[in-house]
């Protein structure tokens, strides 16, 4: 490592991932809004023949926002935060720079192929694991490249101690690697038996075992894609933006180990009242409830970081995004355990309360955190002042309104649906047929779609604001960039 020249962080790879975060955010959420309207107005299923049916688009929405928007945001933030807290520049290692660029290239290729194949209807039919085996192999390649980047950068660091965010990035890397490999174990039928298309495969597991592995994966995708790396982001961006060190570093460490210990056992709550052993369902419930502790440990730590500096909530829209993000994290990590209690689950399972829960977590916590992180990074990546503070404020309020409309309508819809499904008359006959519930739920589906639309408009405002920042934002000197609060134009 040479330290004779004035050294600067190299954000080439972070910039590339910033672009894909915005691009996949727009694609994934536009599709999401379309399918939300399809739920309310089924005629919208027939816009483009088979390609625009709900069943074809839904995996594009989930894969697009989870593995496109969120994972891009995680990678972008890694290539930014990783260098800074380890005090080492990507420019110091040609090898790591090449790995970073290759990581990006393989990632983009995989996601584009994912979109194309899902549109074509090529799928394993495993939720959140729909990609067929050739694409799974590509995922392994870019994931390993990310690992090389993480441990490579750690290997040449100047700062001895790994800041808590790095721990969370490492956890995300290791856990997703393990989960992905085991859940995607599959037999390519053409190679083994000569039957079926060359890309077709069947799961290695059968029946209940397949369900168990699937939800061990599925819930931990929430843990290690939507939680740990997002916690990594907030542990860096909130203290940095507010100028306040994290309230309790020790609390961050013990919340980390608590989260690691508990999360992996909670997946069984997806299979309550199914054919898996009863003790496993109970274990899923119990661990889900215990999970409140480490989750709230991180979230409270973040809110307490703002202690004595709450006036920033009024003046800085980025603080607004992050504080509301951690508040939504608290809400959804309380709501999830409540739904995992067996008696509540009897009512909630298969109802619209579940997507309601998912979306207050993803829109409120994950989305807001990724949005805030990209806003914070952009002036530093491009040495430009953020284009418009007032647009950020508008975006914040539009999206917050959108989230509230989304989850409140789904709460009402879900509980109504659950109550109607289980209602019986005095002779024990079901009181309602399925279509009765659909008629009652229609207004809530409409409200949900409008909520989603508001959030999407916010995403377009975000993309526009970032674009204008890069194109016409005021140039900043190094001195203006090396501050805590992100420089932004008041207009």
């Amino acid at each position: 490592m040479g330290n004779q020249n004035p050294l600067a962080y190299d954000y080439t790879v972070a910039k590339l991932f910033l672009f894909t975060t915005v691009l996949f955010g727009i694609i994934g959420m536009t599709v999401g809004v379309l399918i939300a309207f399809q739920m309310a107005f089924p005629e919208l299923n027939y816009l483009f023949g088979e390609y625009a049916t709900f069943s074809r688009l839904r995996p594009i929405h989930t894969n697009g926002v989870a593995f496109g928007f969120t994972v891009s945001g995680i990678f972008a933030s890694w290539y930014y935060v990783g260098q800074r807290v380890l005090k080492v520049s990507m420019a110091e290692s040609k090898f790591l720079m090449t790995v970073g660029k290759l990581h990006f290239a393989v990632y983009v290729l995989t996601i584009l192929l994912a979109v194309v194949t899902l549109f074509m209807g090529i799928t394993t039919s495993k939720e959140y694991s729909e990609l067929e085996w050739p694409l799974d192999l590509l995922v392994v390649v870019f994931w390993v490249l990310w690992g090389v980047s993480i441990f490579g950068l750690i290997g040449i660091r100047r700062e001895r101690t790994l800041y808590i965010s790095i721990w969370y990035y490492i956890a995300a890397f290791l856990a997703v690697a393990m989960l992905f490999l085991f859940n995607n174990m599959a037999v390519p039928t053409a190679i083994v038996s000569g039957h079926g298309d060359w890309f077709h495969s069947v799961s290695w597991y059968a029946g209940t075992n397949d369900a168990l592995v699937q939800w061990w994966f599925g819930h931990n995708a929430v843990a290690f894609v939507f939680t740990t790396p997002i916690v990594a982001m907030i542990y860096y961006f909130l203290p940095k933006e507010s100028g306040q060190a994290v309230y309790s570093y020790k609390l961050s460490l013990l919340s980390f180990w608590g989260l690691m210990f508990v999360y992996l056992w909670a997946g069984g709550h997806h299979l309550i009242y199914s054919t898996v052993p009863d003790w496993m369902q109970t274990m899923g419930s119990v661990f889900s409830v215990v999970l409140i502790l480490p989750s709230w440990g991180s979230a409270i730590n973040m809110l307490l970081t703002m202690k004595g500096e709450w006036q920033q909530l009024q003046t800085n829209p980025l603080i607004k995004f992050m504080v509301l993000g951690s508040t939504f994290y608290m809400l959804s990590t309380l709501e999830g355990p409540i739904q995992a209690i067996k008696s509540v689950n009897a009512l909630a399972h298969f109802t619209d309360w579940i997507p309601g829960h998912v979306h207050d977590g993803t829109l409120g916590w994950v989305g807001f955190m990724v949005i805030a992180a990209m806003y914070h990074m952009t002036p530093r990546l491009f040495k430009k002042e953020l284009y418009s503070k007032s647009l950020m404020e508008t975006q914040f309020w539009l999206q917050t309104t959108g989230i509230v409309l989304y989850f409140s309508s789904m709460w009402i819809a879900g509980i109504t649906q659950g109550m109607m499904w289980r209602a019986t008359d005095e002779f024990g006959n079901l009181s309602y047929s399925f279509i009765d519930t659909v008629v009652v739920l229609h207004p809530y589906y409409t409200i949900r779609a409008i909520g989603g639309l508001l959030y999407l408009v916010g995403i377009f405002i975000w993309a526009y604001n970032l674009y204008k920042t890069i194109k016409v934002g005021r140039d900043l000197s190094d001195k203006e960039i090396n501050v805590n609060a992100s420089p932004m134009s008041a207009n």
Binding site: M1, G2, N3, Q4, P6, L7, A8, Y9, Q83, R84, V85, K87, V88, S89, R157, R158, E159, R160, T161, Y163, I164, S165, Y235, Y236, P239, K240, G243, A245, V246, S248, Y249, K250, L253, L254, W257, G258, F261, W279, N482, N484
Partner: protein, 69 residues
């Protein structure tokens, strides 16, 4: 005792063991801070003081020993 029961007991005791390890770790963190063996809270500054040009909080030994060119 059949295999299922052995698994259940093993699972229970392993969980209890890990809980003890976690609480011991928490105890260790707070005692080390109180006795002054290690100040964990200073690491919160790693996010704030993160310019490449500023001095690391705890520099890696090897690079300290490397003679400056």
């Amino acid at each position: 005792m059949d295999l299922g029961q052995i698994q259940a007991y093993a699972y229970f005791f392993f969980t209890a063991f890990l809980v003890i390890v976690l609480y011991a770790y928490i105890f260790h963190l707070y005692r080390a801070q109180k006795k002054g063996t290690r100040d964990y809270e200073k690491y919160g500054n790693l996010a704030l003081d993160d310019e490449v040009s500023t001095k690391p909080l705890e520099k890696i030994e090897e690079s300290e020993e490397t003679p400056k060119k």
